[in-house]
C-alpha cells in the first residue's frame, strides 16, 4: 500500500472528473467527447466505464463533485462564515474576476453553461443543477436576511426574490461577458450589480459606499 501501488482507484476517478470538467466546460456536455477526455488523461475506456456507468453519470458527478465544491469554496462558504455577510457579498461581486482564472470569462460559468444546455433535455441534470443554483440563491438570501437583522439592509427588502434576482443577474452578466468575449463587459456588468446590492443597504450605513475598486 505505502509504496505507491500502480492502481489508485480514487485518484483515477478524481483525475477523470477533473479532465471531464475541463472538457465539458470548454465544449459543453453533449459536445464533450469521451474519447477526448481519455486522450487527455492518458487512460482508456476501461478505466472510465469502470468508475462511471454512462456519460450522463459522469456529467452528474462533475456537477456534484467539482462544480458544486468550487462554488462552495468561492462563494457559498465565505458568505456563510462571514460575520458581515453583506460586505462579504459586495466584496465577492467586486473581486470575483480576480479570484477565478482569466480564461473563465471566455468559458463562462460552468453551472450556467450546463443549465442552459441540459435543463430542457434531461431531468436528472435539471434536478442537480437546480439544487446547486438553489444553494447559491439561499446563500445570498441568508446573507441579506442576516444583513437585515444587523440593520444594514433596509427592512422593506424582500430577501427571497431579491436573492433570486441577484443570482440570476449574476449568471446573466457572466453569460453575456462570455458571449462578448470581453472582461471589460464582465467588469461593467458586475459593477452595476454591485450598485444594485448597495442600493438595498440602509441609508445611514454609507460606510461601504465607495469600496468598489477604482476604475
Amino acid at each position: 500500500m505505502y509504496p505507491m501501488s500502480t492502481k489508485q482507484p480514487d485518484l483515477t476517478r478524481e483525475k477523470i472528473l477533473q479532465f471531464a470538467f475541463c472538457e465539458i466546460h470548454r465544449k459543453g456536455f453533449q459536445a464533450a467527447s469521451i474519447t477526448n477526455i481519455l486522450q487527455d488523461t492518458g487512460m482508456t475506456k476501461g478505466a472510465l466505464y469502470h468508475h462511471f456507468p454512462t456519460k450522463q453519470a459522469l456529467g452528474l458527478a462533475v456537477i456534484d463533485e467539482v462544480i458544486k465544491k468550487r462554488l462552495d469554496a468561492l462563494i457559498f462558504r465565505p458568505l456563510r462564515e462571514s460575520e458581515r455577510p453583506v460586505e462579504t457579498l459586495l466584496e465577492i461581486i467586486a473581486t470575483i474576476d480576480q479570484k477565478v482564472p482569466s480564461e473563465y470569462v471566455m468559458l463562462g460559468c460552468p453551472l450556467n453553461n450546463l443549465m442552459q444546455e441540459m435543463s430542457a433535455l434531461d431531468e436528472l441534470f435539471q434536478a442537480r443543477l437546480s439544487a446547486v443554483f438553489g444553494l447559491w440563491q439561499q446563500a445570498i438570501e441568508d446573507a441579506l436576511t442576516r444583513g437585515q437583522k444587523q440593520g444594514v439592509i433596509r427592512p422593506d427588502v424582500d430577501c427571497q426574490p431579491t436573492a433570486l434576482f441577484i443570482a440570476s443577474a449574476w449568471e446573466g452578466c457572466i453569460g453575456i461577458a462570455k458571449n462578448m468575449r470581453s472582461p471589460e463587459v464582465f467588469a461593467s456588468c458586475m459593477k452595476q450589480l454591485h450598485g444594485y446590492v448597495r442600493g438595498l443597504q440602509s441609508e445611514p450605513a454609507v460606510a461601504t459606499q465607495e469600496q468598489y475598486k477604482g476604475g
Copy 2:
C-alpha cells in the same frame, strides 16, 4: 405562377428556417439534427443543401432571419417607436411573459441559448449573436437616454452600462427560469428587474410607480 406552382423556393427556404429554428430552440444547435428538421418539414436533404451550403450557414440564417426579426418585433421596435420609451420598457418587462408562447419559459431565450452554447466554439456565431444582443442593449440605452432628455430618468444614470446590465440581467432571468422550469420564478425575477428600472426614474415622477400587474 398564379396557380400556386409546385416549386416555391422562397417558401421552401422560409419553411426550413422556421422548422430549423424550432429544432435549434429545443435541442440546441449542435444537438439539432438536420435529419429531424427535414423529417418535420417533409422535405429532403436536396432541398436544404440547395438553400444552405452547411449546417453552420443554416444556423447563422436562423439568427439573422428568425431570431433577430422576432426580437425586433417584440422589443426593439416598440422601444424605438415609443414616445415614452421608459414606460414602454417597463411595460415590456412587466408583460413579456404574456406576449410569448408559454412553452418559451421552458425553452429559454433562443438568442441566449445560442450565445451560451456557441459563442466559445464558433467565431461567426459569436459575431452574429453579439450583433443581435448589441441591438438589444442599444435599444434599451436609447430608451434610457431619451428618458433622460424627457426628465423621467435621473441625470446621474450612466445609460450605456446600465442598459448593458439590464439586458444581461434580463437574459439571466430567462435562463434561470428555464432551468427552474418555473414561470413563477420568471415572473418574480422580472418583477425585480422592473423595480430596478423604476429605481432609475427621477424622484418626482412617481406616476408609473404601481403600474406593475397585481399579484
